[in-house]
Symmetry: none
Subunit: 224 residues, 2 copies
DNA sequence: GCTCAGCTTACACGAACCTGACAGGGCGGG
DNA sequence: CCCGCCCTGTCAGGTTCGTGTAAGCTGAGC
């Protein structure tokens, strides 16, 4: 299985490649966004490990281009610090997972294998679960291919739950995703939007459920 | 996953505990070297965060004792004085990493997770037994790759039994792992949670069994 | 068959959560 | 420019569910 490492720090990229080799993966290394674009277009990689701090431009733009082209390549993003802003914009742009430096090789391999294992769920420009489809670009939702309209906030909640379908999303993450950095809210807003979203999804006949994990957060899954 | 914070400044320790809670770790707080010794000997912690400036003696001596007993507990040392001398003596005494005040919560968490992941069987990100998988980071369980929801307490029991699968876990250890130092429980709580956990696992189709070893504790193994 | 550890069910309490209602505000249509 | 509609965030009341305790039952071991 061949991977692409996009990282301008030569030492780090060699280290990562060595670690991946030990885990049984071959990998190619490029050091800039331009090379990354070229590599991706000419070789079929199993996944990409993408550093956001590139010399010749934003790694995120590489990612966005991929997604715009409906390229389902799994992408694991590396970033210098796990800031909320980076996380949010990274996930918005279509990253499958995130890893903040410094990290342990074991974790990189673990996360990489996690995204390799789940084929295409979180990827691409449209997310899907049962008969529910969400187009990340137009922020539209469809049930049985019929367009349905829900409000902006509800869409935000749906998006983050859908991106991590089958996994628990802590309530705090939902809150961050909805409100970004615009000052914290002082109420049960998340609960309210989850409630409204559930109602909407039910009315529209979406065959999905949002489970509550008490004291933790929510989990979205296919119904029954 | 349960951590021990050894720190005499109450405000700081609360802050750290809150930050760790946000990152998904439970923690107990003690304020002196004596309490630290006691806590470590009675509870099985995943790691210790140790302040060197303690009222009743040097934190380093606690660390040295641990290491003399070949205790593999990962230790992250905090100190006000970021001098080289401290750093050296700290690492010499067996600290796994070192953080000078003032520090950012993000960095503490990152370093903590780095040392948690280092070696050893206890530290993997996901534990597996038969068709049962437990993700230590999100505290989620999966049966046949399907997410299953169980309560926080049941998860705690599952975690310690899974970490020591195939070995007998004394009931006292389970109790300590669930309740930490938050005042002992005066009932058969452990039995109740084991019972509930067994029921849940059966309902969810997990092919594992929890054997009872009378007068000692429990043992988790693959079914049949 | 007796004893005691462990199992299971029941219950009470409180925290976490849900949801209907409402007021403020933005935006588009008239 | 004004009106009305819907989105938004907050609150309050009601509800659910996890938790810890207790009590009665089961079964292992002597």
């Amino acid at each position: 299985m061949r991977l692409l490492i996009v990282e301008d720090n030569a030492e780090l990229s060699r280290l990562v490649a060595a670690g991946l080799a030990a885990a049984g993966y071959e990998s190619d290394i490029v050091g800039s966004a331009a090379e990354a674009r070229e590599a991706v277009s000419s070789v079929s990689y199993a996944a990409m490990i993408l550093d956001l701090g590139l010399p010749d431009g934003d790694g995120l733009s590489v990612l966005r281009e991929l997604r715009r082209q409906m390229e389902p390549l799994p992408v694991l993003v590396l970033t210098a610090r796990g800031g909320l802003q980076d996380r949010v914009s990274g996930l918005r742009s279509g990253a499958d997972d995130y890893l903040a430096k410094p990290f342990a090789m074991e974790e990189l391999v673990a996360r990489l294998e996690a995204i390799l294992r789940r084929p295409g769920q979180l990827l691409g420009r449209s997310l899907r679960l049962a008969n529910l489809v969400y187009d990340t670009e137009s922020r539209q939702i469809f049930v049985d291919d019929q367009p349905r309209i829900i409000s902006a906030r509800e869409t935000s909640v749906l998006e983050i739950l859908l991106r991590r379908q089958g996994r628990v999303v802590p309530k705090k993450n939902v809150e961050d995703h909805i409100f970004g950095l615009e000052g914290e809210v002082a109420s049960n807003a998340v609960e309210v939007y989850v409630s409204r979203l559930r109602k909407q999804l039910a009315e529209h006949g979406a065959k999905v459920v949002i489970h509550t994990i008490r004291g933790v957060g929510y989990l979205m899954a296919e119904e029954k």
